[in-house]
């Protein structure tokens, strides 16, 4: 069969096979090397890492080559390729469906494995590093295997196909398709690194703080990519889907949010372990949960059990991922149980009014949040399995529960940064909360003066004020002492991230509470008004190209500029996709969509108008979070990040 395959298919499959074999050998080398402390075998490990990375790059390049040359002998190219797809979207078409997205996972995972191998190359004799690489090789082997068998992107399709439909129209409608999936995957897959080190620590029994400090930056970058990837997804939803929202609680969105929630809990609670030696079991459990949720999320979204805009067609990978999820859970829980005694924390929380107690409360809230999101996402599946009823859990469930949790987290964000470690006195709290409290009062007064109303939004703005006061206090104190260098480091970078989160919370509070929308029936050259703005239809035009027919309504907004919401029919797939047109400013977005039915020769159009306050601050907040994450990753005044606290310590001579 292979002989008749397109050349790229044959080469791609060969690369996948080499990658799988390399990963298996790498795993054996790591396990045998670590168990026997055989340096000759251990020295082979980086070579296997290089081999699997080269194989993954080769397989991915073969797939890109097949897509670019439109090799329609491959079933995958028949499914998502088309001669009429523009080059950019054709390049991104490789990860626009199940098989290609798994291939991208393989590439990124192999890249991480090689990066870790390079990072630990000078301390390969340390068994934690060896075991961690062993775990990564095992995960790599699983993904190479999935890509080789149930999600084979190089499988042959029926003969005689000369053209295809191209990717889903939603995936060839905006430049973000180039960035959102890869960045999200960098986050998803990046979690494997700290997870592998956690498992290695459990296997070796060296469950102190060494491995944790060593992998801090890996965790932070994985979390940063996940955050940025999710934010880009929100932006995409806003710019492409035409419903003016940024988050719909769609199962696939939830699948990316779940590991983010547990990951966020982890990067907070890990500080408690570093400072006080506490929460060891909890931290390892959070890492296991985060990695497991990436596997579960992949099962949910790639197995075909869900019905959503993101879900790919039914495939055979569901059982594979479910089995992997079970193995990860059983092995991890078994190891945690085995090492239970060593994981016992030496310290206790001295006072509920302390930094560590606030972190603990933060973690409890994140755990509740994760449970709520997971429950709402899988509940319909459970009911369908048990009762054969098809139900849906709508956005109101998630909104009702996430709002109080969000407000509670904002409260903690306001208080925790000013709380001292171990115990807070009344005087300390009074001193440290003085300016944040005034910031809260100022935010409340300003929002009232600007016409805000309602308990939830006012509470959000006030808590946002206090929290930003607390974060700014830290940043100002640091920069007063150290100048711009005060912005660098974990504590200060973290506060920049907090400021970004606060901007996002305030933006969501404002846009959810004070948005207005109306459908307007516009007649050409007749002005309509809504919410203090004027809208005038100038024309309805049709634009055709090889793959689509777009009908655009040209609408003059406030007599200044013409905006062009459109509906595009992708002729090969027969799917209509709306494209909104947005006037963006720092205060308010005016978001226009064209409502069907619409005809090019008509002098009328139905336009839906959304007036959404403060949306721009959502994206500014995201940028601030990204900057803060980078600043937090710098070592600041603490130890050099490359200094191996997990390096082997010479055993005391007896």
């Amino acid at each position: 069969m292979l002989a008749s395959a397109g050349i790229s298919g044959t080469i791609g499959r060969a690369f996948l096979l080499v990658g799988f074999i390399g990963a298996i050998f790498g795993a054996f080398a790591a396990v045998a090397g670590a168990r026997r402390n055989d340096q000759q075998i251990i020295r082979l490990i980086p070579r296997f890492a290089t081999l699997i990375f080269a194989a993954a790059v080769g397989a991915f390049a073969a797939m890109e080559y097949a897509m670019i040359t439109r090799d329609f002998s491959l079933a995958y190219v028949q499914k998502v390729g088309s001669w009429s797809t523009p080059a950019l979207y054709n390049f991104a078409a490789v990860w626009s469906a199940l098989e290609g997205s798994i291939l991208m996972w393989v590439l990124i995972l192999a890249g991480y494995t090689m990066a870790v191998a390079i990072w630990v190359r000078k301390r390969m004799q340390d068994v934690i590093a060896t075991w961690a690489l062993g775990v990564m090789f095992i995960v790599c082997a699983f993904f190479f295997l999935v890509s080789y068998f149930p999600a084979d992107p190089f499988a042959l399709g029926p003969p005689g196909v000369l053209d295809g439909p191209g990717p889903n129209p939603l995936l060839q409608n905006h430049i973000l398709v180039m960035f959102h999936p890869p960045i999200l995957y960098l986050g998803y897959v990046g979690v494997t690194v700290p997870f592998a080190f956690a498992i290695a620590a459990l296997i070796t029994g060296r469950v102190g703080e060494g491995w944790l400090v060593a992998t801090r930056r890996w965790s932070l970058f994985a979390w940063g990519f996940l955050t940025f990837g999710i934010a880009l997804g929100s932006w995409w939803s806003y710019e492409v889907l035409g419903w003016s929202g940024v988050w719909a609680w769609d199962p696939v969105e939830n699948a990316s949010l779940l590991p983010w929630i547990t990951g966020t809990a982890y990067i907070h609670s890990v500080l408690v372990q570093e400072r006080r030696g506490m929460l060891r079991v909890w931290n390892i459990s959070l890492l296991v949960a985060t990695f497991s949720l990436t596997i579960l999320g992949t099962f949910l979204t790639r197995s075909g059990v869900l019905n959503s805009v993101h879900a790919f067609s039914e495939s055979g990978i569901g059982a594979w991922f479910l089995a992997m999820f079970a193995v990860v859970l059983v092995v991890s829980v078994g190891l945690i149980g085995w090492r239970g005694d060593k994981l016992r924390s030496p310290g206790v929380i001295d006072s509920p009014l302390s930094r560590e107690a606030a972190f603990l409360a933060n973690n409890v809230l994140f755990a509740i949040f994760a449970f709520v999101v997971l429950l709402g996402t899988v509940f319909p599946l459970i009911i369908e399995a048990l009762q054969d009823r098809q139900i849906a859990v709508g956005a109101p469930f998630f909104n009702k529960l996430s709002m109080p949790i969000g407000l509670a987290l904002l409260t903690l964000m306001a208080i925790a940064p000013v709380l001292p470690w171990r115990k807070a006195s009344t005087e300390t709290l009074r001193d440290r909360l003085f300016w944040p409290a005034w910031c809260g009062v100022a935010a409340l007064v300003a929002s009232l003066l600007l016409g805000s109303y309602g308990v939830a939004p006012l509470l959000t703005f006030t808590l946002g004020g206090v929290a930003s006061g607390a974060a700014l206090r830290q940043v100002v104190l640091a920069t007063r002492r150290q100048g711009l260098r005060g912005l660098v480091g974990r504590a200060n970078g973290g506060m920049i991230v907090h400021l970004g989160v606060i901007l996002i919370a305030v933006s969501l509070g404002a846009s959810n509470s004070f948005s207005k929308s109306q459908e307007l029936s516009l007649v050409a050259n007749v002005e309509a008004q809504f919410s203090g703005h004027t809208f005038e239809l100038r024309d309805v035009v049709e634009v055709r190209d090889d793959r689509s027919i777009s009908v655009k309504a040209l609408v003059l907004v406030d007599g200044k500029k013409i905006y062009a919401p459109a509906i595009t029919k992708y002729t090969r797939i027969g799917m209509n996709v709306g494209t909104p047109s947005v006037r963006t400013s720092l205060t308010t977005d005016i978001y226009l969509t064209l409502e069907p039915p619409v005809r090019q020769d008509s002098n009328e159009a139905r336009i839906k108008v959304f007036i959404k306050p403060m949306i721009m601050w959502l994206w500014i907040g995201t940028a601030l979070m990204a900057i803060g994450t980078v600043l937090a990753a710098f070592p600041g005044r603490r130890r050099k990040p490359t200094e191996p606290t997990s390096a082997p310590v010479e055993v005391a001579k007896s």
Binding site: A248, F379, P380, L401, P596, R639
Partner: protein, 248 residues
Amino acid sequence: MSENLVLLVQLQEQREFLLKSLRDLEQEHKFGDLDDQDFESLRKDYVSRTALVIKQIESFNADKQVPQQEPKQKSFRRSAITTLVVLVFASLAGWFVAAQSGQRLSGDSLAGSIEDSTASILSRARATNFVDPKAAIELYTEVLAIDPDNIEALTYRAWLLALISRNAGDEVKQLAFSSASNDLKRAIALDSEYPDAHCFLGITLFRLAGDPQGAKEQLTICSAKNPPAEVKGFVDSIVAEVDAALQE
């Protein structure tokens, strides 16, 4: 490595970690990242933990055994309360999610939803018009919240309201008629060419208000404007009754 040796290596790692952390702490304090209070409390904690670890290492060096820490007594009461809280929370969340769930129609997502356009809400309402009139009324109300002048939503919400009030008491029927006829008249005012509104107003006037004259006028306009087959079926079934009532 034997278990004792692993424990020793871990203790030595721990010692290194704590000593480095102490040095870092002093650096952080020196450069102002930590204030005096945090510095003092953390330093005390690090020092006491370091002392304990060093003591354990020395003990190993002396008799080749690492002293085992006294296992903490697990509090049964605390475990029971924690379990109870988790169970209560899980039960409440389960009840809440069940209460918030609804039927999943074809094309619906398993979880979450996006704010639909009136076109998609109307198509869902049309599909449930006579299967679940209450759900359809809610969908039409949703459309009217977005677009108060939506003629189809005004017309069909009024019609369904009139239909479900047929078997109600006089007072409810009167209220339903009042609301339905207002909406239908508004729909006609917005677009007098829309036949469905005339048809339903005619039927409503006859059935709920006992006004054959008014009904006849609306049904005549309705027939002249070529209503959809489904609506025409309703009209045809009532025309004879209206004519008979007029002749009485």
